[in-house]
Symmetry: C2
DNA sequence: ACGGTAACCGGAGGGCCACCCCGGTTGTCG
DNA sequence: CGACAACCGGGGTGGCCCTCCGGTTACCGT
């Protein structure tokens, strides 16, 4: 084995992390494809992790996930060197859906309403999939951009477009940033996600934060 | 040992949890005083826990606290059957200070400003003492009122007075509750408490939530 | 002053977890 | 079809939370 510190560390993230179905593509976008069994394990881990996390929250036991997926814990750690990496992969689909929703809302005639609708959707997803909010906020802190904070970057980009339009229409305070809004939504989700009726309470708190504490 | 399930479970909370120095007092407010060594250990654990939690956050290792206090982990668990109980004791002083501040702000001529000032103070304390916010929110979920949710009850009562005055002056939306406001503040603190400059960011987010996203 | 008693202490151990090492296995490519 | 490298996972390490139990010590009555 060459001992140079390649750009991909020993437990390298899968160079081909399973885009669900994309037959049309240039022949070799990424030369070193995964071995078949490796990919199979990877996908099973992601599937099981989604189920377990949905039920037990984001700090579910990694060993339990590995056991339930029928692989050794070492395999899980090889595929996902950190818990955050696993969460990013699991929530990738949800985040992509939210980004798509942002795109759909862009041509809305009322930019403020579009932004607020989207923030509500983000909040709803965050409380529904326990740990998504924490994952997004954690991604905001991760300095290393190469290692997995793609979810955070994606959703910030999507929100930026909506916020820019709303700001241009003077429908939001000019000093507000997308990161702040997402932090607010994530914080509310994180605080309410383990309450009996978290979704409703989260939506109420979000409305309060958007409209302000004072009346009119 | 009698096997009946007495109202106080085996690891009973200290009946005399160390009011720092109060020589003048009726002879027997609480008959079963703690033994001297027990109290000494109790106080040392609280002191050390305050320091460790301030540095490492609310989920610091209990064994580490016990080690650093020079007691066995069993002693810590006997004095504080749950982590929440320890946090409550550690943060009691801070919470009392916040309650006192609420009292001081009650006669303020501007009820809305008084409420907002107080919420800011709560937020500042929550980010400064890592874990206080989480502790307050956790207290809100604890169903058992006898076992330690006194901090939450105290601060809700203090906030209720301020909120009632503000509501009477039509300075806040009538449907807002104290619990919601505290949840909002705690959530923001929780989300920002481990950022490089959390205090400033928390204050900005709190302002945003109070004034609303839309301008004017 | 002193002994008896019960409250209290903390070392040791069990169960669970994240993470890593290394010999055996298996997919892949010439 | 055979060799090689990538990959697997059992087992070990260290840490955590929590509990049991034999030894210790403060307290109180005499």
């Amino acid at each position: 084995m060459p001992e140079d510190a390649a750009p991909t560390p020993p437990g390298r993230p899968p160079t081909h992390p399973a885009p669900p179905a994309r037959p049309q593509r240039q022949p070799q976008p990424q030369p070193p494809a995964m071995r078949a069994d490796a990919r199979r394990n990877h996908d099973r881990i992601v599937a099981v992790a989604g189920a377990v996390i949905a039920e037990h929250g984001a700090e579910a036991s990694l060993e339990q996930i590995a056991r339930h997926a029928g692989v050794g814990s070492a395999t899980l750690h090889r595929h996902f060197p950190t818990r955050q990496a696993l969460l990013e992969t699991v929530f990738k689909g949800r985040v992509e859906a939210l980004c798509a929703k942002a795109q759909d809302l862009l041509p809305d005639p009322d930019p403020a309403a579009a932004l607020i609708t989207w923030l509500r959707a983000v909040g709803a997803h965050a409380v529904a999939n326990r740990g998504l909010g924490a994952s997004l906020m954690q991604g905001a802190r991760d300095a290393d951009p190469a290692l997995g904070s793609t979810c955070h970057a994606m959703i910030v980009d999507a929100g930026d477009a909506l916020l820019a339009r709303a700001r241009q229409a003077h429908a939001v305070r000019p000093e507000v940033t997308t990161t702040q809004l997402l932090k607010l939504v994530s914080a509310i989700a994180l605080a309410t996600e383990r309450e009996p009726d978290g979704a409703a309470e989260a939506d109420r708190l979000l409305s309060l934060a958007i409209d302000g504490v004072r009346p009119r």
